[in-house]
């Protein structure tokens, strides 16, 4: 019977084989001319310069449906949170300026960026077709469809292109970045993938596509999300076309300066090199992997914007220009921490376990360092502001910014059983409805419990809580002995 089925499937596939040569990934359209006034750039959003005195950045980590649900829970809590600034009550979700996301977190970010509050609709598409759905089964159906076998025989069409089509069908239709540009509203989305050739972050914003002379406005959101969640081996690398040298691209002035900084600031030097490399004439394609390979927190690009004036939407520039008075960075980290059992046995751990460790441990360590780098960055700034205030006339001192660093992660949970439960959830695109509900709830709870978040919504800036992570003692509290 099995042979009959196989024979039937082969017979059904054979007529489709000629299609194999035709199947190819969707072509990225060339950009005729780089124009800073067009395309998906922060500065081109209609409300770009508005309400920046409170500047809110969210980062959503990878972690499949677990990460998507946790991010969703944080957005829900922000929807119900308010801050008072200069006597004006403002909704925190409306105040979000930038969302930087990776992998599973990119589904929530992209859907919210495109559809706003429709994300929260219990009967809506995001809940029905993604959050509470077995997306893995849907992906498998796509891969096992005989029609797709024929297409997958093509060398320019891979499993990731099937995933792109599935996400299009489930969530995004043919919405592209041009639609986001036309929507013209914050938050500015930074959907992050990894450039396979360089191992560096690749973000779906027009400034990244400029040196490739490629038009991001014609790239679909499903494709960006597929690239961002392109788990290596399970999927094939995702390809984009590049047309270097065809659009009169002029690199930003900082690149020439940065290329002189190998000794003084190697981080900046390599950023400059990276941008210049996209202009190499032989680089006609860019192959992308999951954003988690380069940065599984989605925090690196915002960190660069906080530390450098080079980024087109540089936060540091806005601080220097006295446009930002309160900077809020909320890191939503769905990392897990499974406790392996191989140390209970003298037997050597198996190959699967070893490969899994090699694949995940460096990523987890790098993510930890990234979160710590944010703490260090904000602390250095806070210290500098204080020194400047003490030694310089007030109107000449560094602009004083309140710095809010809020970390949402399962390891913040006090209850041990609860903590262990969330830390051991799998990375998958299917979770039972109860787990999704709990993840949404716990996202809100973790945010709510953060002393820094309380300080933000309470209107009482607690710098030790927000910068160092050590809340100030409450008034009247007895000193510890």
């Amino acid at each position: 019977m099995r042979h009959v089925t196989l024979a039937w499937m082969l017979a059904a596939t054979l007529p489709l084989m000629p299609l194999a040569g035709c199947a190819s990934f969707p072509e990225t359209r060339p950009l005729e001319r780089v124009d800073a006034a067009t395309g998906y750039r922060y500065a081109n959003l209609a409300d770009a310069g508005q309400d920046e005195d409170l500047f809110v950045i969210l980062t959503f980590s990878g972690g499949g449906t677990r990460a998507a649900a946790l991010a969703h829970g944080v957005l829900e809590r922000l929807r119900d949170a308010w801050v008072e600034i200069d006597g004006e009550r403002r909704n925190l979700l409306d105040e979000v300026d930038v969302i930087s996301s990776v992998s599973g977190g990119s589904f929530t970010a992209a859907y919210y960026g495109l559809h706003g509050d429709a994300l929260f609709d219990p009967e809506g598409r995001f809940h029905r077709n993604f959050l509470y759905r077995d997306v893995e089964a849907r992906l498998k159906r796509g891969l096992f469809n005989p029609y797709n076998w024929a297409r997958l025989a093509s060398k320019t069409f891979g499993r990731i292109d099937i995933a792109d089509e599935v996400y299009q069908d489930l969530l995004f239709d043919d919405a592209d970045f041009g639609d986001l540009t036309a929507r013209g509203r914050k938050p500015f989305l930074l959907i992050n993938a990894t450039d396979m050739a360089k191992g560096s972050r690749f973000t779906f914003v027009q400034s990244q596509f400029d040196p490739m002379c490629a038009d991001l406005d014609r790239v679909t959101l499903s494709r960006a999300v597929a690239a961002s969640s392109n788990f290596p081996v399970a999927f094939t690398p995702l390809a984009l076309n590049s047309y270097p040298g065809r659009c009169d691209y002029r690199e930003p002035a900082w690149v020439a300066a940065g290329l002189r900084d190998l000794e003084a600031n190697p981080r900046r030097y390599y950023r400059a090199r990276s941008l210049r490399d996209y202009q190499a004439p032989e680089r006609r394609y860019v192959h992308l992997l999951d954003g988690g390979v380069a940065d599984n927190i989605g925090l690196r690009y915002p960190l660069t914007a906080i530390r450098s004036t080079d980024v087109p939407w540089s936060v540091l520039r806005k601080i220097n220009l006295e446009q930002i008075d309160k900077l809020v960075v909320i890191v939503v980290d769905a990392k897990t921490q499974q406790v392996p059992d191989f140390d209970t046995s003298p037997r050597a751990p198996g190959l699967t376990q070893v490969v899994s460790n090699i694949a995940t441990t460096p990523m987890a360590n790098y993510s930890f360092d990234t979160v710590e780098l944010l703490r260090q960055t904000l602390r250095t700034r806070a210290d500098a502001q204080q020194v400047s205030r003490e030694t310089t006339p007030p109107d000449e001192a560094l602009h004083r910014v309140e710095l809010y660093r809020i970390y949402v992660g399962f390891d913040q949970l006090q209850d041990e059983a609860q903590r262990e439960r969330f830390l051991s959830l799998p990375t998958t695109f299917r979770l039972p409805a109860g787990e999704v509900d709990d993840l949404r709830r716990i996202g809100g709870v973790l945010l709510e419990r953060s002393p820094c978040f309380q300080s933000l919504v309470g209107g009482r800036y607690d710098e030790p809580a927000c910068v160092q992570g050590v809340p100030s003692p409450s008034p009247g509290a007895a000193p510890s002995s």
Partner: protein
């Protein structure tokens, strides 16, 4: 590493760093360690020198690098 810079000019102007507005004159601002081209807003090009092209390193918030621009027409 973070660096600190103060651009001095008789009036309040935008300071341009590497081709974009990135601070105000007569006020300490923060920049990243490295080479930078510092000038004033090109809207009123009545200042000199035209620009500073220099490596910014080794500064502190209480000892920023001071760069002074003067009016082109000063003293004439």
């Amino acid at each position: 590493m973070d660096q600190y810079l103060k651009v001095v000019f008789p009036t309040r102007r935008h300071v341009w760093i590497d081709g974009a507005p990135a601070g105000w004159t007569n006020k300490v601002c923060q920049v990243e360690t490295g080479h930078h081209v510092v000038t004033l807003s090109p809207t009123h090009p009545n200042f000199q020198p035209e620009q500073f092209d220099l490596l910014v390193t080794g500064t502190r918030p209480d000892a920023p690098l001071i760069l002074e621009f003067t009016r082109k027409d000063a003293g004439t």
